[in-house]
């Protein structure tokens, strides 16, 4: 448990999740037990099929055997014919979803979330809601907006992707945060949209072949972003526009519900008619303190 006595923190290899459940104390204990029991199986289960999961997804190929692997593949398949994508693009969201699923089937909870390194799956009983804060850059906890998700909304997953995060990105977005029906869908979409926020060939964007950084990475020879110099407002606008066009089409097909794209302090939001509050919300009390 974390120092607050409320949240459960679990870590295994590269998987690092924070879980919080709300409801009766007994039910919370049941849910945490179920989460921990499932958690210890996950890394071995995924590694058993790692070679398959690192290969590009296909619309029609074989199905993996593990439940999480299937969630991953299902989340990336809609993109398989359009772009290069492997099931690994949805691993964090799929893990979060799986843990949440065992918790909600083991216990009756009013609310719960599973945060797997920033990719979040959550549960809302009827009438419940979650307040969500958005960070400008995944490596820094500074907030640029908040939104509230109610039980009546279809959204149950949030994911963020960007070149500064732990995973490699092909694009230059500092952060693309996506709200979608599931965490795995959000994870896959955030990856794809963050890749699309780009200025191909721009001299101030440093790119390195992924395999030079991590030989067994699923991106292989593809160039991943390692640095982004200062861009002009026009360039920032162009790059964001490319991401926005893609995000809008995904929104139109129901793959995502909303997205916030952030590049060097500029933010664009789509799919947020009711979410005008997504941007420029003053940082609430007690977030990182500015002296």
């Amino acid at each position: 448990m974390l120092p607050d006595g409320r949240r459960l923190h679990m870590q295994d290899g590269p998987i690092d999740v924070i879980v919080e459940a709300f409801g009766d104390a007994d039910e919370i204990a049941l849910a945490y037990r179920a989460a921990a029991d499932r958690f210890i199986e996950i890394l071995d289960e995924l590694c058993g099929e790692l070679a398959f999961l690192r290969r590009p997804a296909r619309d029609d190929g074989d199905l993996p055997s593990g439940a999480i692997a299937r969630r991953m593949l299902a989340a990336v398949r809609p993109y398989a014919s359009r772009v290069f994508i492997t099931p690994m693009a949805a691993v964090a969201g799929a893990v979060a979803e799986e843990i949440l699923a065992v918790m909600t089937s083991a216990a009756t909870l009013s609310r719960a979330y599973v945060n797997d390194g920033g990719d979040i799956s959550f549960h809302l009983a009827p009438g419940e809601k979650f307040a969500v804060g958005l960070v400008e850059r995944p490596d820094r906890a500074s907030l640029f907006g908040t939104t509230t998700i109610k039980s009546g909304d279809p959204i149950r997953g949030i994911a963020t992707s960007g070149w500064r995060g732990r995973s490699f990105s092909l694009g230059i977005a500092d952060a693309v945060t996506v709200l979608a029906d599931t965490a795995a869908m959000a994870d896959a979409a955030a990856t794809v949209v963050a890749n699309a926020v780009d200025l191909p060939g721009h001299p101030r964007v440093g790119r390195v072949r992924a395999c030079e950084l991590a030989p067994d990475n699923d991106l292989g020879e593809r160039l991943v972003t390692q640095s982004v110099g200062e861009l002009t407002p026009g360039e920032i606008g162009d790059a964001l526009e490319a991401g926005i066009r893609l995000a809008e089409s995904l929104c139109g097909s129901g793959l995502i519900r909303a997205a916030a794209l952030n590049l060097q302090g500029e933010t664009r939001v789509i799919g947020a008619q009711d979410r005008a509050q997504l941007v420029n919300i003053p940082v609430p009390d007690g977030s990182p303190v500015h002296a």
């Binding site: 870590q11 690092d16 590694c47 907030l143 950084l213 007690g286 303190v289």
Partner: protein, 491 residues
């Protein structure tokens, strides 16, 4: 197992990453260091804890082995380093930790403050001329501060401050933040002073001025050196000149020499005489003899007075650090001729050297705890200021003592060398992230409007985690006052 291009396979978990030299695996916790698989040092894990908002809490423990217990009451102090904020809650996580110390309930409010108003005061022990007062100091070509006063044996620089951090161009802010962060984390930084020297500075290390590492501080100014060593020279040499950029001393004219009865030597110094035996500006400032620009000590002397000087007169010229010295005797024409330093004088030159302390750079972090930081401690921030002022609340930075400036607000200075390594971070604002802890009696905390419902016992600091090492336990420095020790300095 070694594979092509020096990558190694990590077997710490079933992912079995191939890790290239200098890179980490997918977990960010294991790395390839020169072909060896290593656990990253706690700092990196800690930094990750900060940036990812984990609630991993480093501990300072008194200098003894950790006994395996999660907490040990008054022996444990929770620092703000790595306390961060708790994403996804994104709420302030000022840890508010209660513990019992000598029967008194104490509370420590722990937060990583983001300081836009901050900088460092840098003391560089050198007599060499680094640059004129008020000159701009640059890092990465950007203006990051200025040269301020020349102190006894040291040059002070003032770096950072809000006008460099956020008042100038973005590049200026970034370069300033970078320089401050590195200095505070005790890394080396190269600074270039306009129309002056390039100096490499690092906390607790000797400065490197224009490529030359400074060894020792001067023992005193030239005049003081005459006073200190006059007796040791008396009878062994007829005249001594201590070359110093500030005040050059001359034994026979100096009060110390007069008292001993040293006869006039007929020596003529260039420069401006201040009082007898004390000369200003015998040369230009520089990085050679005694902080002047001269390589030939005779260049600061005029011809000897033929009425007074005698053939064979023995003259010692020495710098204020003993680093430069030369010995002369006057020939028939009363010209000084360099000779080997006699053994009897060698001793006094050695003594000067011996009395010169090692030259160091020292870095004091200076910052002001602003309104919002204080609001994280209490609902009525001014009460915290008053409590600090009344010495009811002790302020520490990463467990290290701080000096609280008199006057309004909570403006503090702390010696970064007394803080744990890598205690500072940054945010892209740009601003520095520094640990700050407020320790006070629980009853006083209630009085000043503290968040009593957020107070949690020390014993609650625990988490399920395969890698217990990610919590960084450090031995407290024995030379720092223990932050939880009873406060004897009440006004």
């Amino acid at each position: 197992m070694p594979v092509a291009d020096d990558a190694i396979r990590c077997d710490a978990c079933p992912v079995l990453c191939y890790i290239k030299p200098g890179r980490t695996g997918a977990c960010d916790r294991y790395a390839n260091a020169d072909g060896q698989l290593v656990r990253l040092d706690p700092h990196v894990v800690l930094e990750r804890a900060v940036s990812r908002g984990d609630t991993l809490v480093p501990f300072l423990e008194k200098s003894r082995e950790w006994d395996g217990a999660l907490v040990s009451g008054e022996e444990t102090f929770v620092t703000a380093i790595g306390a961060g904020t708790t994403y996804p809650d994104y709420k302030p996580a000022p840890f508010i930790i209660s513990s019992e110390v000598a029967g008194v309930d104490m509370v420590t409010v722990v937060t990583e403050g983001i300081f836009s108003y901050c900088g460092v005061k840098l003391k560089i022990d050198t007599d060499r001329h680094l640059g004129a007062e008020c000159s701009t100091v640059r890092a990465q070509g950007e203006s990051v501060g200025h040269v301020t006063t020349n102190e006894y044996g040291s040059q002070m620089l003032s770096l950072g401050g809000v006008r460099h951090l956020t008042g100038g161009s973005r590049h200026e802010g970034t370069a300033t933040c970078d320089a401050l962060l590195n200095l505070c984390n005790r890394q080396a930084v190269e600074l270039k002073i306009d129309d002056g020297a390039t100096v490499i500075v690092q906390a607790d290390k000797a400065p490197i001025v224009d490529g030359v590492q400074e060894e020792r501080m001067r023992v005193g100014c030239g005049s003081a050196t005459i006073g200190m060593f006059a007796k040791q020279w008396f009878g062994k040499v007829d005249e001594v000149v201590v070359v110093d950029d500030h005040i050059t001393g001359v034994l026979s004219e100096h009060q110390a020499g007069k008292l001993l009865g040293v006869p006039e030597s007929g020596i003529k110094l260039k420069g401006r005489r201040s009082t007898p035996g004390r000369y200003f500006r015998v040369a230009e400032p520089g990085t050679s003899w005694g902080g002047t620009n001269i390589d030939d000590p005779l260049s600061i002397l005029g011809p000897f007075d033929r009425e007074v000087a005698t053939r064979g007169l023995r003259l010692l010229m020495v710098s204020t650090t003993g680093e430069h010295h030369a010995y002369f005797e006057l020939d028939e024409e009363l010209h000084p001729v360099e000779k080997e330093l006699p053994a009897a004088l060698r001793e006094s030159v050695e003594r000067i050297r011996e009395n010169c302390e090692p030259a160091l750079c020292t870095v004091l972090f200076m910052g002001g705890a602003g309104g919002s930081l204080r609001a994280g401690v209490t609902e009525n921030p001014v009460k915290l200021t008053h409590s600090v002022r009344d010495a009811l609340t002790r302020v520490t930075c990463g467990g290290a003592p701080v000096y609280v400036w008199p006057g309004g607000g909570i403006t503090i200075m702390a010696d970064v060398s007394r803080m744990p390594e890598n205690a500072f971070g940054y945010v892209p604002t740009p601003a520095l992230v520094a640990p700050i802890e407020f320790t006070l009696k629980l009853s006083d905390y209630a009085t000043l409007g503290g968040y009593m419902d957020h107070v949690r016992p020390l014993s609650s600091i625990t988490s399920i985690n395969r890698d217990e090492e990610s919590r960084r336990r450090l031995a407290a420095r024995p030379d720092n006052p223990w932050p939880l020790a009873s406060n004897k300095s009440k006004k």
